[in-house]
Amino acid sequence: MSERPSFLVRLGAYLVLALATLTVMFPVYAVAVMAVSRAPGFSVVLSPDPSLFTLEHLAKFVARHDANGRWLFGRQLANSLVVAGGATALGVLLATTAAYAFSRFRFPGHRLGIASFVVVQMFPATMMIVPLYLLMSALGLLDSVVGLVVVYATTALPFCVWMLKGYFDTIPADLDEAALVDGASRVRIFYQVILPLARPAIAVTALFSFLSAWNEFIMAATFLSHEEKFTLPVTLFRHVGAYGADWGAFAAGSLIVSIPVCLLFFALQRQLVGGLAAGAVK
């Protein structure tokens, strides 16, 4: 990548990127303006009025306590982190092993197995909630953070397996075979050869698992029945009611809920940018 294109080409690239970024950022900006404006509603977005600036919505969202004086926001933030983190860890662990097998072994049930990972996603998720509720109830995992971790990890699994299998397929099998000849076990090859090479893909799948768990609302709201166990999106939707909504508070909550995910991406994008695979595959 040493070639540097002409000045005009670079300028064009910057212009396109700047314009695109501005367009893409507009709704984000709209949320931000609504979150810090005293006047509720959408029209503040077009004519932001500095005299209406307030941090009240943000402060209220963060400072919520329950009747027993417990800091609800803190607990719910922790719940969200545990649920999303747990689902990611579990999901990536299960997905990498399964994807490795699908990529490297041919065995009876191979095709059926891969197919079934895709196929199960075709059934609309909204219709799975009631059966899942019954199942969680039977397993005694209703109203528990663990239940959500397990559910989110498995719902993200098909994507992760597919993604990783696609990536593992681009890593030459010669590497495995060379290591096998050197006397390494399959587990060791998986752990020491394949996983490090697949870090960009693992980063993508981890990000995906985390995002889908972090943002999920309807299952969390249906399964959890203690406010101190709620995740943040559930709390966020307190502000949307049958007869209207508190858009300032909702926007403030949206902003706060989105921040950790943005930070996570910022951290993980270095992994993506690392380009580890580029050097290793010859």
Binding site: L17, F123, V146, F265
Partner: protein, 721 residues
């Protein structure tokens, strides 16, 4: 990973026991929630022996949570919900009869709305009805009849201001006119055709307000009505008591009963809806629940609700409380109550709201005469109220299923013999070991619910009764019955829209994602990381938030997009009045949401391409385009295949965007299959069986799609390699 796991374990152990607690659920927010908290605090102080746990459930998840949790014994003892689902609650056996509190505590008109089959099914805590709010700086005296209303509104309309604002497309807000003109919805429990002369007269009135005289704007949501009122751009607003908490402090406002309909001399009659305290079976025999029920419905609690929540309350004794009497809003609500209609709780009404709303929208924009619009709505309700499939002969189906299983087994055995599967299985131990954890998790948590969902498609619910209907649901979906397959009501129309929706989305996701990925790839780009993070943001924000924001941006009156159009001299567009523009609004939202996923996938794949490939190609004299088509595309392609296949599946089933942005408008034309399935499951009297069958059809279509792509890709990939 271990710190995560340890935290998980701690939280699992720390789950408190729920024995002996009295659990109360509600979906209140703002002032109403505050008032309830005060009542509960007071109760806790007086009754320390009763442990109360209150849960505020987000409104969006509330009905579904009640329906799922209560039959499983995981529901509350008491819950607060409106009265329009009363019969549904009774039929599903979610609620028990109201006992223990003297009925004469409450206004008999309200109590009678909760009486069915000679039993009372809950206690009214508060009621809500529409009244007329007006700005005192714009309106001198509130209009007494509809002629005055029109005259006043006409005077105050213009310059971006409107004389009279309300959510004119919602049946709930049209009801005052319908009943004021002498119309009726039900006779006994039978839903009447919508196109009665009185109803047509009410439609003509709506048409005058919105289309002919334009004193009432279209495409108004609750938030917009508030905003227009607060900014002095709406002189009068028809709204319920909840509106008070949204009026800005500096607005001089007052409230009046709704005007008399001049043509008939009868007062406009809005619906009255109740906040009801329901008891579930759990509350039977629980002393704590009885004490709490009494306390929540007491005159003292009622007074707190009236004073703090400014809720019009149902207790007779509180009506003449000086504080309540001096509160203008509550006094007017009490006066309006004299001319109201109870909110219908007949199950068929759940099917009527949507078609009725479509009719109102068409009348508003002058697209159809009231008569034609209402006639069509009547026809639509008949289509939606299609009879449940008949019970099917179970024996016949069991036999068929057995035959299928036997045939499948025989086929599998033959294959196994030929391919010496047993030997292969024995050899593949390590592979199975790698897959086992994921497979077990999937089988349990995805496989089991999936099988249950599939099975449900062969049954149908009627209240709490379930019966086997075989393929009846499928026949009803796929048969066009008595409406045209080219109408939005038909499965085939919805399916065509879904395909169009999926194809256009994926094309744009991949195209835009690829473009950005290539732009973000070169190392000479300064601020690469910053651009990447900014462009990924749409993915990071939960899609329901995005959908709600875009809905606001596309709003006719206050949306940023129309404001931009007008700034460059183009006319404003009613985005959700036409199929093409409503579809475009959905598409814009979902493209905004969806391209970062493809972009990240492609970026990941680009990273994996060895850079010396490009260098070698450059040495060989390949130009940028040649390098792109010969190196980038073939190497990114395989990594992109799973993303495109999965992206297709997700887009096909992208519920949130369609449901929140266009809401299926106009007339359900932009609905996709999955939103239809959802409407059947949760908005049309909970026809789970029908919805499950719908989902199974969706599943079959996607299965067919993936089989086809696999076939196509297999040949393509083989060529490339």
């Amino acid at each position: 990973m271990s710190p995560w796991l340890s935290v998980v374990c701690v939280l699992a152990v720390a789950a408190p026991a729920t024995e002996g607690e009295v659990v109360l659920w509600h979906a209140y927010r703002a002032g109403e929630a505050e008032a309830l908290e005060l009542v509960i605090d007071d109760f806790r102080a007086r009754h320390p022996e009763v442990k109360v746990r209150v849960l505020q459930v987000p409104y969006g998840a509330y009905p579904q949570k009640l329906r799922t949790a209560i039959p499983q014994g995981a529901g509350p003892d008491l819950f607060i919900a409106p009265n329009d689902h009363l019969r549904d609650f009774i039929e599903r056996e979610l609620v028990t009869t109201a006992r223990g509190v003297p009925a004469d505590r409450f206004d008999p008109r309200l109590m009678s709305a909760l009486t069915l089959k000679n039993e009372s099914w809950g206690y009214p805590l508060a009621y809500k009805t529409l009244v007329l709010f007006y700005r005192r700086d714009m309106v001198d005296a509130p209009p007494r009849d509809t002629d005055e209303l029109l005259a006043t509104a006409r005077k105050l309309t213009g310059d971006g201001r409107y004389g009279f604002v309300y959510q004119a497309s919602l049946p709930y807000y049209h009801a005052p006119w319908l009943f004021g003109f002498g119309g009726k919805l039900f006779e006994a429990d039978r839903l009447l055709p919508f196109e009665s002369p009185a109803a047509i007269a009410s439609g003509d009135f709506l048409r005058r307000l919105t289309f002919e005289e334009k004193v009432t704007p279209v495409d108004i949501s609750g938030a917009l009505a508030t905003e227009l009122f607060n900014r002095g751009r709406a002189a009068m607003v028809m709204n319920g008591p909840w509106f008070v908490s949204e009026i800005a402090a500096d607005v001089p406002w007052a409230v009046a009963p709704l005007p008399v309909v001049t043509a008939t001399g009868m007062p406009a009659r809005p619906f009255v809806s109740l906040d009801v305290l329901y008891r579930t079976a759990r509350a039977d025999g629980s002393a704590g629940a009885a004490v709490l029920t009494d306390a929540l419905t007491s005159d003292a609690a009622s007074l707190i609700r009236a004073r703090v929540g400014r809720q019009p309350v149902a207790n007779v004794a509180v009506v003449h409380d000086p504080v309540v009497e001096s509160d203008q809003l509550l006094a007017i609500q009490a006066r309006q109550l004299a001319s109201t209609e109870p909110l219908p709780s007949q199950p068929v009404m759940q099917l009527a709201w949507d078609p009725y709303e479509s009719a109102l929208r068409q009348i508003q924009r002058g697209a159809r005469s009231p008569e034609a619009a209402f006639r069509e709505a009547t026809a639509r309700v008949l289509v939606l109220a299609r009879p449940l499939p008949k019970a099917a002969p179970v024996r016949f189906y069991v036999l068929g299923a057995l035959l299928l299983v036997v045939a499948g087994l025989a086929y599998a055995l033959r294959q196994a013999k030929r391919a010496q599967v047993l030997a292969d299985v024995r050899r593949s131990g390590p592979a199975y070991a790698f897959i086992a954890p994921a497979a077990i998790g999937m089988a349990l948590l995805v496989g089991v619910p999936f099988v249950m969902g599939v099975g449900l498609g062969f049954f149908e619910y009627e209240g709490s009764q379930v019966r086997f209907v075989g393929l009846g649901n499928f026949a009803s979906i796929l048969g066009t019955n008595d409406y045209s397959p080219f109408e939005p009501m038909s499965f085939y129309f919805t399916m065509a829209v879904t395909v169009l929706w999926t194809v256009s989305n994926i094309a744009l996701h991949v195209g835009i994602g690829f473009g950005f990925a290539l732009l973000l790839q070169p190392t000479w780009l300064l601020g690469r990381g910053v651009f990447r993070v900014l462009l990924i943001l749409p993915w990071a924000i939960p899609n329901y938030i995005t959908a709600l924001i875009f809905k606001g941006l596309f709003n006719t009156q206050l949306g940023a997009i129309n404001a931009l159009l007008m700034k460059v001299g183009l006319p404003a567009i009613n985005w959700f009045d036409h199929f093409a523009s409503a579809f475009a609004a959905n598409l814009a939202t979902n493209v905004w949401l969806g391209f970062p996923f493809m972009m990240v996938t492609i970026l990941g794949a680009l990273q994996a391409i060895p850079s010396d490939l490009y260098e070698a190609a450059r040495v060989d004299g390949a130009g940028p385009w040649r390098r792109f088509t010969s190196i980038t595309l073939p190497l990114v392609g395989p990594a992109l295949v799973p993303s495109v296949v999965l992206g297709t599946i997700w887009t096909f089933n992208m519920f949130n965007v369609v449901f929140c942005v266009s809401e299926g408008q106009p007339e359900g034309a932009t609905d996709i299959l999955v939103t239809e399935a959802y409407r059947w499951a949760f908005m049309r009297n909970g026809r789970y069986g029908y919805a499950a069958a719908y989902s199974l059809v969706i599943f079959a279509i996607l299965l067919l799609y993936s089989a086809l792509t696999k076939r196509l890709l297999a040949s393509r990939v083989a060529e490339a390699i």
